[in-house]
Structure formats: C-alpha cells, structure tokens
C-alpha cells in the first residue's frame, strides 16, 4: 500500500534530521575547503609554474588517486589517533596533544584530502583556458595583478570551480565508509543509515525513502551548477 509514512518518519524524528543536516553541512564544508585550497594551487599550476614543474605537480595531484581509497583513509587514522603522528609531533615540540582522532573534525580533514584532486583538475582546466590577451588588456587598462585575478580570472574560472564542487559535494554526500572508519560517536551519514536499514533491519522501503534525500539535494545542486556554467567547463 502506498503511503508517505516513511517520509513522515524522516521528517519527524530529530535523529534523522540531524543526520541529514550533518551530511549536507559536511559536504558544503568540504567543498568550500577544497575550493579555497585548490584555487591558488591550480592558479600556480596553470599560470605561474614552468612546464617541468607543471608536470611534477600534475603527477603529485594524480598519483594518490592510484592508491586505494581505503589505504589513504587508514593512513589518516594512523596520523590522527591518540598515539599517532600528529600527537607525536605536537608533543615533540612541547604542545598538548590534539584529540581529533575519531571525531567530525577528523572526517572533515580526511574528506577534504581525499576529494581535493577532483577540485584541482577542473579548476586548473578552467584557469588554463583564460586567454593571456585578457590579462594583457587588463594590465593595459591599469589593473594590477591582484585586481586582474579578482575581476578577470576569477569570474572566468568560476565555472571550473563549480564543476569541481559537483564532485566534492556529491562524493562527500554519498560516502559512508569514511564515517565508519574515521568518525566517532555521532558521525553517522545518510549513507550509513541507508546501509543499516538495508543490511541489518531489512527495512528497504525506509532506506529507499532516505535515498531520495541525496538525490533531491543533488538535483537542486546540479540545477544551480548549470546556471553557473559548470557543464561548459567540464
């Protein structure tokens, strides 16, 4: 029998609202972090670095993608846990340990690291396509370098950043392995709840109702991205 009971449960139970909220918030946070990190990096790669350095940077960005996702997540566990590299380094310079292993902060760091290449590549592609002549024109008209970056390069590169954000946002939104491995108590994502409803509770209708949420979020996101010209940049 068709009814909206499962959707009602989604909306009414605070636990599910907070899980959806956490997932979306993390996806936004990771996307913003990656955009901020990727833009200067991609700018350097596309417009400053020599051919040789550019090749090296490309390799540095792409090589981690050849390693298993799990290996990279486990590497971060080793860095962030109580006796890990981070706390060891902090202690050796006389600082108190940072207890960020198995927290949402740890998830934020790991997600930002894992999806960073997916932001750098489209941003790089967009930046490389900005014609040198436009910058020369800006310089002729008296714009300093930073002014030119802000008013000429940034608007032209924006579709590339938005294209990259589609990856970082959707990949974070749909992930459920990093929360299991890196998250602590109170780190469940939408994906984890779907997984437990399919695998453990056998409550497939509820899992299906919950699966609609990321689909709807992505539909809205893609519409906005299209308006911003992301698909031309891909």
């Amino acid at each position: 029998m068709w009814n909206t009971e499962n959707f009602q449960r989604l909306i009414e139970e605070p636990a599910y609202r907070s899980i959806i909220g956490r997932t979306v918030f993390m996806a936004v946070l990771v996307t913003v972090t990656d955009a901020v990190l990727a833009f200067p990096f991609a700018y350097f790669m596309a417009r400053v670095a020599s051919r040789r350095v550019q090749t090296l940077l490309f390799a540095a960005v792409l090589l981690p993608l050849w390693a298993s996702y799990l290996a990279r997540v486990y590497a971060w566990i080793l860095i962030l846990n109580h006796n890990g590299l981070l706390n060891w380094s902090l202690q050796s310079i006389g600082l108190p340990p940072a207890e960020i292993g198995y927290t949402n902060v740890a998830m934020w760091i790991v997600f930002s690291y894992i999806w960073l290449p997916f932001m750098i590549i489209p941003t790089y592609a967009a930046l490389e396509r900005v014609p040198e002549s436009l910058l020369e024109a800006a310089a002729d008209l008296g714009a300093r370098r930073w002014r030119a970056v802000r008013d000429v390069v940034l608007p032209l590169a924006l579709p590339g950043v938005v294209a990259g954000s589609i990856f970082t946002f959707s990949l974070t939104l749909g992930d459920y392995i990093t929360p299991i491995l890196v998250g602590g108590a109170g780190s469940s994502f939408i994906g984890n709840v779907i997984y437990s409803n399919v695998g453990i509770a056998n409550n497939i209708p509820f899992a299906a109702a919950l699966a609609i949420v990321p689909v709807a979020i992505m539909a809205v996101y893609l519409l906005i991205a299209q308006r911003l010209g992301a698909f031309e940049a891909l």
């Binding site: 109580h82 006796n83 602590g184 108590a185 109170g186 695998g199």
Partner: protein, 389 residues
C-alpha cells in the same frame, strides 16, 4: 523476498504463545520448515560443500583433513556480520549454500524465514557429550526441533587497560561513567541494547527486566535512554574486532565491551589489558551450524557437522579463535594443545555458569508470558540508529 520473510516472522510471532524453557529450547510458533523431515542416515558425500562462515571457522588446519577423509571439497564464503549471513542465505533463492555458522542474533530470523531446516541430532555422535545447555539452546531449538547443531560460544566481556584500572572493575558501570568520557568503546550492533538492559536489570530492579532480549516498551525506553546518555562518552562504536584492537593499542580508549578474541590478540601483542565478566553478568554469543532448506549437498553437510563436533576439531577451533567448545570432551584436547586453556575458556564450566551468560537471540514481539508487548528487532535497529546519531 526479504520484506515478505520479515512479515512472515511477525505474523507467525503474532499467533505464537508459550514460554521459554531451556530444556526444550524455545516454544514459539512452529517455523515454516518445522515439518520437513530431516535425514535419517548420512549417505555418501556429494563431493562439494558450500559454507557461509565467520572468518577462521573453516581454517585449512582442520578443513583439509576433512576433505581428505570425506572427499567433500569446501567452498567457504566468509561473512563479516550476522546480517550479511542472513542476506547471503537468501541470495539466489537460497539454493546456493549448504550451511551457515550463524550466531544467536541471526538464528531465529533464519528459522522463521524458512531459510534453514531441522537437523537430526542423532546423526551427530558427539552430540551426547555436548554441554547440556547447548543441546537445546533457545536460539536454535524450537519445541524440541533442532534447527542446527551448536558449535562454539563465548561471552561478551569487559575489556580494560590495566594501566588505567589497576584494580579489576567489578561492574559494567565503568562504560556508563562520565569519568571515562572519550575513552570508551562499545560494539556498533543493535544487540548492544541487551547489554544495557542486562545492566539495568541489576541496577534498576524496579523496571522488572527478566530477559534482556524480551523488553516491554518502558524497559526498552530505559535501556535506550541509558545508551543515549552514554553516547557523548563513547570514542567510537567498533564494527570489526580489529578496530577495537587498534583503538586499545593506540591508547584511544581504555575500557570497552569486547570478545575474548580481542583480549587474546592484544595480550599477544604485549598490550597491558585484561578482561572480566562483571557482577551483573554478561551477554554472550552461541554459534550454530545450520542447514539450508535447499542445501544442494546435505550429506556433505552432515559429514561436516559430525566432523566439527568431534572433541579434537572443537579444541583446535576454540584455541584458534579464542572461544569455547560445546563438546565437554574437548577439554582434554585443549589442555594438550595449550595447558590451562580449558579453565581459561570456561570449557569445563558447571551448568550454573550459564545462568550468568545471557546468550544472543533475535528479539521478537512475543514475550515470555505469551503477550505481544515485546519490542521486535527492527525497532531495536532503528533505535540504535537514533542512539549513535
């Protein structure tokens, strides 16, 4: 269809009545396969045997000699979770696998969905020397019909760092104590609600909890509240035994709920830990080899069950995995392999010992008094999602 199967459990449980009695197992309504006649004699092996097992349960050291003896070649599929076992048994219409080494939290689900069939214990010579409790435990025996043959068991223990706790903790309250904030780990498993209920049955007798797997609404809510209050104290809900081992090794946690396996591994790695069964008692798991309803190789399946029930194989598996054999004759074999292990694993425990261990079973709506007021497993699962946020 999974949903249909679950509905079948519910509707069957609705008409069920009766009480739980350890002597004849469980006396719920008859499962769908209750009238299937088990084999009355084991024929020659079919040459193949497809098993779903916990990792380590089909180790070459005892599986190879079995194949040499019987000609049954074993194809083992390892599962990580009870729920994975349940879905694997249903996969491909159920005709793919012969047996599953299911734990008590999966057994009733498998039995009531009709995925497993009765077994004839008379074909297992070593059954007679089984620990009495494991001949008819309520998680695999219903109205005297055996839906599988018990294999091994173990308690869910309290694991603690001996540096942090120089004196052995005597109560489970250490994992609910705000003093240990951020230093606690418990399993990521809805059945953990039973551990909370067991603790409440001793600390809040007014709730009247008798069986931690049969909880009425107020009892269930109290257990959920205890676990919700516990959440801010938890460092991590562990999913795999290896997760908990690394949490203790790296000093991320100092106390948690565990299996003897983790203690053995940690001690072997030189970690300063120990485990105990606190005064409130403990929950435990009992594993059972269950025979698939559509098993394509039933003779090999019986030959395998006979083989793993023998004292020698029981002892080997117990020491390999860190669990306790159900065959009382295995004790001598264990001592021969590793002195002191029989007592260490409680393989020689008197019958009364099993009163302190509350073995996992799937929560169903029917309470022991026959009423339908108990909270079924799917509610446990959704409550667990809410608890761990």
């Amino acid at each position: 269809m999974k949903l249909g199967a679950l509905a079948a459990v519910m509707s069957l449980a609705l008409v069920a009545c009766g009480t739980t009695n350890n002597n004849t197992g469980n006396t719920q309504a008859p499962p769908p396969t209750a009238n299937m006649k088990p084999l009355d004699k084991v024929g020659p092996g079919e040459g193949q045997l497809n098993l779903i097992a916990w990792e380590g349960y089909v180790d070459d050291s005892w599986a190879k000699p079995f194949t040499t003896q019987t000609g049954c070649v074993i194809n083992a599929k390892y599962a990580g979770y009870s729920d994975e076992m349940v879905s694997l048994m249903k996969s491909g219409g159920g005709g793919q696998y012969d047996m599953v080494s299911a734990s008590g939290d999966a057994d009733l689900r498998l039995i009531y969905s009709g995925d497993v069939r009765p077994m004839n214990e008379k074909l297992i010579p070593d059954f007679n020397t089984f620990q009495t409790y494991f001949k008819n435990p309520p998680y695999n025996t219903i109205s005297g019909v055996h839906y599988g043959i018990s294999l091994q068991w173990g308690p869910n223990t309290l694991l603690y760092s001996t540096t942090k706790f120089p004196n052995k903790p005597t109560s489970w309250n250490v994992i609910y104590d705000p003093a240990n904030r951020g230093l606690i780990t418990v399993p990521d498993n809805p059945i953990q609600i039973a551990d909370a209920a067991l603790y409440l049955s001793k600390t809040q007798p007014s709730l009247g909890i008798k069986d931690p797997y049969e909880l009425t609404k107020p009892q269930f809510d109290a257990a959920v509240k205890l676990l919700t209050d516990q959440r801010p104290l938890i460092k991590k809900y562990w999913a795999l035994a290896s997760d908990e081992i690394s949490l203790f090794q790296n000093g991320d946690v100092v106390v948690g709920a565990a299996w003897p396996y983790q203690t053995i591994q940690l001690k072997a790695a030189g970690a300063k830990v120990d485990d105990t069964i606190p005064t409130e008692g403990a929950t435990g798991w009992g594993d059972t080899w269950m025979l698939a309803t559509k098993a394509p190789h039933p003779n090999c399946a019986y030959l395998w069950t006979q083989y793993v029930s023998t004292a020698k194989v029981q002892a080997e598996q117990a020491l390999f995995f860190g669990e306790t054999p159900v065959n009382t004759q295995a004790c001598a074999q264990m001592e021969a392999l590793q002195a002191g292990s029989c007592a260490q694993y409680h393989a020689n425990a008197p019958g009364s010992y099993f009163d302190s261990i509350h073995f996992w079973k799937t929560p169903i709506p029917t309470c022991a008094d026959g009423s339908q007021n108990c909270i079924p497993y799917d509610k446990w699962v959704s409550a667990w999602t809410t608890i761990k946020g």
